[in-house]
């Protein structure tokens, strides 16, 4: 009896035991499925996620259904409270506040998301190089982030955005991203420092993977969890930053709407038309809250050491 016959014989004997019953299938879950299940058990995070989905629908699909020009003036209907015709009322120039909140939401969400993407790309790049190569590269890059961390961030952000007279979303995105990457790069550097010593990296190196391949194909996916979490939390932070800047007239410039400058505009009529402050204000708050809830939910779901409850 040669070896292959031996193998097939044992396989036949073992086969019946391996038959997959439905119960067994249910227990074998993919990594993604485990994370998803864990996330779904966090009620607060679900509420946050559902709110965000609804919010995106309202802001991006809403204007296609409720066709109301956010910049159309109508002085005969100025400063009206919320009604069936104007769900969120109108501002001092008779513009439909609902249309403006939807248009402003597009800008605010876009600024929050794209500045997050920029900050993550920059932060991951710097952190990866610092953590992977160590030595002088690490020292230089980390001193650079040290300097960036020592600046009183808010104050410098204010000064820069006041000085740059071009108040387009693009400028605001770049400015906010320039302030968000430091924490990301520190986080990624820490992950890379520990991951680069692991056996799978050595194994990949042995079969001839180059530095870039090692960094971005092998190590980076293993650091994905914390990066995803900090990306989620960063969107909330960035939306708040944008709204603070726009509220003080240093962010998105009128007539373009953003939640921040809607609150700023409304503040002039705070006593006679408080809804103009409260409605966009609540949108900012609830969006930031939802991103925080989802981020914390992801943190728990992605943590491999988290015991299943």
């Amino acid at each position: 009896m040669d070896r292959s016959e031996q193998l097939s014989a044992t396989q036949e004997e073992v086969e019946p035991f391996l038959e997959l019953t439905p119960e067994l299938v249910q227990q074998r879950r993919s990594q993604g499925r485990i994370i998803f299940d864990r996330f779904m058990r966090n009620r607060a995070a679900i509420v946050g996620a559902v709110f965000l989905v609804l919010l995106f629908l309202v802001c991006f699909v809403g204007p296609l259904i409720i066709r109301s020009d956010p910049n159309a003036l109508n002085f005969s209907a100025a400063s009206q409270g919320p009604s069936f015709k104007y769900l969120f009322g109108t501002d001092s120039l008779g513009r439909d506040e609902l249309a403006r909140v939807m248009a402003g939401g597009q800008v605010s969400l876009l600024v929050g998301l794209s500045s997050m993407v920029m900050a993550i790309i920059f932060g991951v790049g710097i952190g990866a190089f610092a953590g992977y190569f160590g030595g002088i590269v690490d020292n230089l890059l980390m001193r650079f982030t040290d300097v960036a961390l020592a600046v009183p961030l808010y104050l410098l952000l204010f000064v820069l955005s006041a000085a740059i007279t071009d108040h387009s979303p693009r400028t605001v995105i770049i400015l906010i991203a320039a302030f968000g990457w430091t924490s990301v790069s520190r986080l990624v550097r820490g992950e890379f420092l520990t991951l680069r010593e692991r056996e799978f990296v050595l194994a990949a190196r042995t079969i001839g993977a180059g530095n870039l391949r090692l960094m971005f194909r092998h190590i980076l996916p293993n650091a994905a969890g914390p990066i995803i979490v900090s990306a989620t939390l960063l969107v909330g932070t960035n939306i708040i930053l944008e709204s603070v800047l726009s509220y003080f007239n240093f962010g998105i410039a009128p007539p373009a709407a953003s939640w921040g400058n809607l609150v700023g505009d409304g503040h002039d009529y705070f006593f006679s038309a408080p809804w103009l402050v409260f409605i966009p204000g609540l949108f900012i708050f609830l969006t930031a809250l939802s991103f925080n809830l989802v981020g914390d939910g992801l943190r728990d779901a992605l943590d491999p050491y988290m015991t299943e409850r």
Binding site: L155, F270, F271, A288, L293
Partner: protein, 320 residues
Amino acid sequence: MGRYIIRRLLQAILLLFLLSLGMFLLLHLMPGGPVGVLFNPRQSGAVKAAITKQFGLDQPLIIQYFRWLGSALVGNFGYSFADYQPVLRIIGQRFPATLELFTYALLFALILAITLGMISAVRQGSITDYTLTSLSYFGISMPIFLFGLFAQYIFGVWLHWLPTSGTQTYGYTFDAFGQYLDHLSHLVLPMLVLSLTFIAGWSRYMRSSMIEVLKQDYIRTARAKGVGPVSLLIRHALRNAVIPLITVVALNFGQIAGGAAITEGIFGWPGMGSLFLASLDARDYPVLLAMLLLGAVLVIMFNLIADILYAVVDPRIRYS
């Protein structure tokens, strides 16, 4: 210890130098920098030449920087573009109001954060703990300017409990005590608003640090020796649990300063934050540059204090 502090100080000075250079260049190279403020199309050539000479704008930027740094080091930050007063005097006038707001807000935030964090830690998993956790989510997600506006409307406009701006009521004459009370009532809302975000974050921190400490052996030993629950918490656990919080507070200084600027702007509190916002509107670069530098000095100083404090209160940390 002495050598450690000296080395950290030298590092701090180097960092500060780099920062001031970076901020100076950034502000001057930006479109609409000081040059954009000083000149306008209606000025004659002679006026422009005079201004160029007066502010040394014909020199290379790096020379301009060292001239600015040289006079800044002896306390001369130049003159405000807005009202031609010395920058240092303008900032000095605003300092007391900010210090007052800062002190009250910081004390209030610390006391409340420590108390709430301890309650959460001791009653871990209870309804109180969950309530405080949910509340802290609200606190962390609420931008300071929004909380300020909401508080103004609710307590000032709607309930008529508290004044919404300024430092005193005009048009009334009070006796000395009445005037003080009036002043305090103006302080309440800005103080609450400024401290809220930090109470939320710090109480979370205090909670986890307290939970860590309560697990330690020495706590069990103390309990076994018959130390009462209150004394155990306050005299034994609190001391060690507060150490990490103090460093976090020091490290948060930059954020507190930003929050203070926003709070002062919203409540019309006549401190350095209001000055900062007004200078932004006027693009008063000498004032802004001085305030940024002051902010950086304070951030670096508080970082240093945090590190040293940490080393002093926790003998396990080595200075290497």
